[in-house]
């Protein structure tokens, strides 16, 4: 209510004033002006409401003021005392508030006229303002003074400048006092309210500092004048003394913040030690100095970044050469000594800022960072820490990672790891390790070639390597976390786990020593021994990558040594190394087999096979032979009776489809046996005889048939391997050719014994196609499978087709549309396949191949 009545009064009185001014009745106007100014004496308004009427009064005063200025100009020089008289006159008003507003209004107008006693008026006004000690009224009055005078302050010479500064500083001091005093007004139960009100008024006080900063910027000064020095000697100590002495939490945090924001960066560079050690340290004990420091550092960092942008455009020779970090650090250590109870989140903000500062200003100096982590490890992480602290520690650790040029920077920070180790939460450890890996993998060309480097990185990976898999919690049960079944559906892993293991494998690939593959291998072995085998359950995810990599390096060495041998060099030493490395490698595969044979024998078989094949390429026949034997062990122990562990439908007609595990395994072994070149005939025969035998013992007819006809290829290859005496007699070759024929015969018999006539037919045609591959003449014109045999097979197939045609219900058999008729479809497919085969033969015969075959 009282606000509204004040507003009404002001509106009314200000209207009357304007009328009087139009009538040129100045005295009457002044009277109305005093009337509305009287409203500013009101007591019951909140700062916000007071501000509202202040603004109305301000606007009305502007009208009067403009009128005065205009009339002064009209009256010209003769009448200059007009304003001086007026200035005297208004001082006779009864109440102090209207009187002082009036005085300031006329006084500042007077100051603007040429030849006015500017400095006297300034002094006069600031003195008079002391008369108002009521906080809100005093603050607004002084704010009015400061607003009115801002463009009129004299800066012509040093003396003017000094007085102006004095004027602003003393206004600032008085306003601060008023502002602080406001806190202690009224009932103590209203403290919170007071605090809130004061917050709303803070800008009034801060504006003085803004003005100070502006005039320092505006003042040109003489030759010996330096704005930085002036600030450091005259302004900063006075202001900060006031700030410290007020012992007020709000005033200190707000005013220091304004101080940091409002004065130029180079001022802060120059006065940093004073600011930290003489000001910050003496502030209110409960004040969060960390936030002030953070603000300050943020300024420095922005300055640095802007400067970096400007380089090239401008040469910044006067760039401040201040070694910032030690100044901040000394302050921080001192503070910690004084107050060991500093809350943890403040420490965190401090350290976070220091990390940013160090990374910006000292990108190559890791000592600073290490100092930070050392402090954190020794002083902070000693106590029991809850999850909140863990989160803060984590953020301290994660802060620099993305800034590093290379992840190897971490290796230079021993205390980073110490501090990382203090993270008791595995979740945070994992998260941090992932940050490190992701950073590592996003950089190109990072390589680890020494055990120090490997330790450097893998000690952070250990937490992921040891990550347990089989924890099924509610989130996984409910499908919130994405999971996958593994181990035949008996185990379960999360997507996150798999992707972490994937990343570990990728890091393994970064272990490279391009100049020394032997060293490279020993590094890889080192990783396995010291890190990867720390959790045997997980080695199935990482060992394959490791083994393949070692094997690849061994293979490289082998080819390299073979070249050396061609140059006639002594390679005994290298060959020994190759052999011993192969043995070490097979120990690793054995370990994998030992722990994971139950579910992963197929994969391990493939790994053994690759090793065996590589050993052959390196002319390590006996090693290769042993490895193949190991393959047979895996086959017999785990694969031969392995039921097809996927529930997919097996289609026996499909020669390249889902099939039983033992059949697949035989195919895999055959595939590798076919590539061998450095075996002697006897050894090779041993292996392929065994495999052919396994093939002929498979349970399913189609598996048996196909396995055996595939094994025929091995005998073909065998025919060209030298025997122990290194000769390749005709007799031996003929023997092997006979075996091929035997294999195909066996396949035919098996095919014939199928209960399903359509399957028999399909297998016959497959065998026919195999026979065509073997119908190629060797050097001496002998063919393994001759035309006569093939003609017989073609006849057999025709007979079978005819028989099936007879049996077939003609109405259904030739209904091509009827795709639901499985048998008819298979039959049709077989006939077409046969037809294509015959066409192929006929076509080839035009090029004199397949002579004697009757189509």
């Amino acid at each position: 209510m009282s606000l509204q009545s004040s507003i009404n009064t002001i509106n009314q009185q200000s209207g009357l004033m304007k009328q009087n001014l139009n009538d040129n009745n100045l005295l009457q106007a002044l009277k109305h002006c005093l009337n509305f100014l009287n409203e500013l004496r009101i007591n019951k308004l909140s700062p916000k409401q007071y501000y509202e009427i202040y603004m109305m009064v301000f606007d009305s005063l502007e009208v009067l003021l403009n009128h005065l200025a205009q009339t002064t100009q009209k009256k010209k020089k003769k009448d200059t005392p007009y304003l001086a008289d007026l200035y005297e006159l208004v001082q006779y008003s009864g109440n102090i508030i209207p009187r002082l507003y009036m005085m300031i209004m006329v006084g500042t107008t007077y100051m603007a006229t040429p030849g006015a006693p500017t400095k006297e008026i300034m002094k006069d006004m600031i003195e008079m303002c002391r008369g108002v000690q009521h906080p809100i009224r005093g603050l607004f009055l002084r704010y009015y003074l400061s607003q009115r005078i801002k463009d009129l302050l004299p800066l012509d010479n040093e003396e003017d400048f000094n007085e102006t500064v004095h004027f602003l500083v003393s206004n600032f001091i008085e306003m601060t006092k008023l502002w602080v005093r406001l806190q202690h007004q009224g009932h103590s139960s209203e403290r919170e309210l007071r605090y809130k009100e004061r917050k709303e008024l803070k800008i009034l006080v801060g504006s003085n500092l803004v003005r100070l900063s502006q005039i320092i910027d505006d003042y040109q000064g003489g030759e010996s004048y330096s704005s930085i020095n002036y600030y450091a000697e005259n302004i900063l100590p006075t202001i900060t003394e006031q700030i410290i002495q007020c012992r007020d939490h709000l005033a200190q945090s707000y005013l220091i913040d304004v101080l940091i924001q409002i004065f130029p960066d180079d001022f802060h560079f120059a006065t940093l030690p004073f600011l930290l050690n003489d000001v910050f340290i003496n502030l209110h004990p409960l004040l969060k100095k960390s936030e002030l420091v953070a603000t300050l550092i943020e300024r420095f960092v922005n300055y640095h970044n802007n400067e970096a942008e400007m380089v090239g455009k401008l040469s910044l020779e006067n760039k401040p050469q201040v070694d910032l970090f030690p100044i901040f650090w000394d302050f921080y250590v001192k503070l910690h000594e004084m107050d060991s109870e500093l809350p943890i989140d403040e420490h965190s903000i401090f350290l976070q800022s220091f990390i940013t500062l160090s990374l910006t200003y000292y990108p190559d100096n890791y000592q600073n960072l290490d100092t930070i982590y050392q402090f954190a490890t020794e002083k902070l992480a000693t106590k029991e820490s809850g999850s909140e602290e863990q989160d803060l520690w984590f953020r301290l650790l994660v802060a620099p990672i993305q800034h590093f040029q290379s992840i190897k920077t971490l290796f230079k920070l021993p205390f980073f790891f110490e501090f990382y180790h203090k993270l008791t939460s595995v979740q945070y450890q994992k998260q941090l390790s992932l940050e490190i890996i992701n950073k590592l993998l996003s950089d190109k060309n990072e390589q680890f070639s020494t055990t120090e480097d490997i330790d450097g990185i893998f000690k952070y990976l250990l937490v992921l390597i040891k990550d347990p898999t089989e924890k099924l919690d509610t989130a996984k049960n409910l499908g919130i976390t994405k999971t996958y079944k593994v181990n035949n559906g008996e185990g379960i892993v999360t997507q996150e786990f798999l992707s972490n293991q994937e990343k570990i494998c990728k890091v393994i690939h970064l272990i490279e020593t391009p100049t020394d593959p032997f060293k490279n291998i020993s590094n890889l072995m080192y990783v396995r021994k010291k890190y990867l085998n720390k959790e045997f359950k997980n080695i199935i995810y990482t060992y394959p990558a490791l083994i393949m990599k070692i094997l690849n390096k061994l293979r490289l060495i082998g080819y390299y040594v073979a070249e050396l041998k061609k140059q006639g060099k002594d390679i005994t030493h290298q060959e020994l190394l190759i052999t011993s490395n192969f043995k070490n490698l097979s120990v690793i595969i054995d370990e994998l087999y030992h722990y994971h044979q139950e579910y992963h024998s197929e994969l391990i078989l493939k790994i053994y096979l690759n090793a065996a094949s590589a050993a052959d390429q390196l002319s390590q026949q006996s090693l290769s032979y042993e490895l193949f034997n190991q393959c047979f062990v895996v086959y017999e122990e785990n694969l031969i009776l392995n039921p097809s562990h996927n529930n997919r439908q097996i289609n026996p007609h499909d020669s390249l489809g889902e099939a039983s595990v033992p059949y697949q395994s035989i195919l895999l072994i055959a595939d590798k046996l076919y590539t061998l070149r450095n075996f002697n005939k006897e050894n090779y025969e041993n292996l392929i005889t065994k495999l052919t035998l396994y093939g002929s013992k498979l349970l399913k007819k189609q598996d048996q048939c196909r396995a055996v006809y595939f094994c025929a290829h091995l005998w073909w290859w065998c025919a060209y391997l030298p025997d122990e005496q290194d000769n390749n007699s005709r007799e031996n070759v003929d023997d092997d050719f006979k075996r091929i024929l035997e294999c195909l015969q066996k396949a035919l018999r098996v095919a014939d014994s199928c209960m399903d006539p359509y399957l028999s037919l399909k297998l016959f045609i497959e065998i026919l196609n195999r026979c065509l591959i073997f119908n190629v003449a060797d050097d001496e014109g002998n063919t393994v499978i001759d035309a006569k045999y093939i003609n017989g097979l073609i006849d057999l197939i025709r007979t079978n087709i005819d028989n099936l045609n007879d049996e077939e219900d003609p109405a259904r058999a030739f209904n091509e549309e009827d795709e639901n008729n499985q048998e008819a479809r298979l039959f049709r497919f077989s006939r077409e396949y046969f037809q294509r085969t015959l066409e192929y033969i006929a076509e080839e015969q035009q090029a004199d191949v397949f002579e004697g075959i009757v189509v």
């Binding site: 994405k482 997507q495 798999l498 080819y559 390299y560 070249e563 390679i571 889902e658 294509r836």
Partner: protein, 297 residues
């Protein structure tokens, strides 16, 4: 219509990932799905091994993703992962036949073809499947040739994953020269190779690969022998320990000849006409070779 043919990635078992230039080329718009609006379908020959990230990359490239099982793929896991990505029929067979325009294309990872990579065995399979084009993998060696009116494509390994087959640089380059030079388009100015616009300066139109490769090989060999002799002399004077020292130049040569060059293929089909673009990544550059596939009756 563009079909991407890609396989044998082996992430993370044998490689960290696709070369970043390939990634940029294949997926110009990584945040969108599909991330490449030119490719109509992806045929993946398997051996992604154990990387959901890579699988997702391939899956998101085009509206249609077909995959066959590779030797090292864990079918159980892969099925679940594809299902998680939203694949409608996440079963992964050993071979598939798709019809693209008027072409019947069969593709398989190739490890069940015995002898592996043998052209007669492949021909037999193509006959059985009754396809015009047979795509196979498992050898990490790019090949493209025509036999008996059928076309055979091996896109190689997209990540350059190593393989444990025999490394015979001489034999290999002969094979490729023989196989490809008949087919290679004489015109090399087909600068509009399909993905090129997006590749920017990174990719260069390759030379006719069949002719170029042996040339590259030859001087390298000569040099190798030359230096070999010199170092042999030097090492003799350095007494017995010399055998432990490593001849870096030789090592580099060997390592180059045993390593695999990352590659994939892009099939551009229009009706029954078809052009194959072979992308390889060699010494930090993407190269493209164009091969016309003869019209099939």
């Amino acid at each position: 219509m563009l079909t991407l043919v890609i396989g044998d990635l082996f992430v993370p078992d044998r490689a960290i990932g696709l070369p970043s230039d390939f990634k940029k080329l294949l997926s110009p718009n990584p945040s969108a799905i599909p991330s490449n609006n030119k490719i109509a379908q992806v045929l993946c020959l398997g051996n992604v091994t154990n990387s959901i990230e890579t699988l997702q990359f391939l899956y998101n490239l085009s509206p249609s993703f077909h995959m066959v099982r590779g030797e090292y793929d864990d079918a159980q896991l892969l099925t679940q992962q594809l299902k998680a990505l939203g694949h409608e029929s996440p079963n992964i067979p050993f071979h598939q036949v798709v019809t693209i325009d008027n072409l019947k294309i069969g593709f398989t990872s190739g490890y069940q073809i015995l002898p592996r990579g043998d052209d007669v065995a492949l021909l037999t399979l193509a006959r059985e499947l009754n396809v015009d084009i047979l795509i196979w993998g498992g050898t990490h060696k790019v090949e493209a040739y025509a036999v008996e009116g059928k076309f055979f494509i091996n896109p190689g390994s997209a990540t350059g994953a190593h393989t444990f087959g025999w490394a015979d640089p001489d034999k290999d380059s002969d094979d490729e020269a023989g196989g490809e030079s008949e087919l290679d388009d004489a015109e090399n100015d087909a600068a509009d190779a399909k993905l090129e616009q997006t590749a920017g300066d990174d990719s260069k139109e390759g030379e006719e690969s069949g002719d170029q490769k042996p040339q590259n090989e030859e001087p390298a060999k000569a040099k190798l022998d030359l230096f070999g002799e010199e170092t042999a002399d030097a090492s003799e004077s350095l007494s017995g320990s010399a055998s432990n020292e490593i001849d870096l130049e030789l090592l580099n040569k060997v390592s180059e000849s045993t390593s695999v060059i990352p590659s994939f293929c892009l099939l551009d089909s229009q009706g029954s006409a078809c052009t194959l673009y072979i992308y390889t990544y060699l010494k930090g550059e993407v190269k493209v070779n164009k091969v016309s596939i003869p019209r099939n009756n």
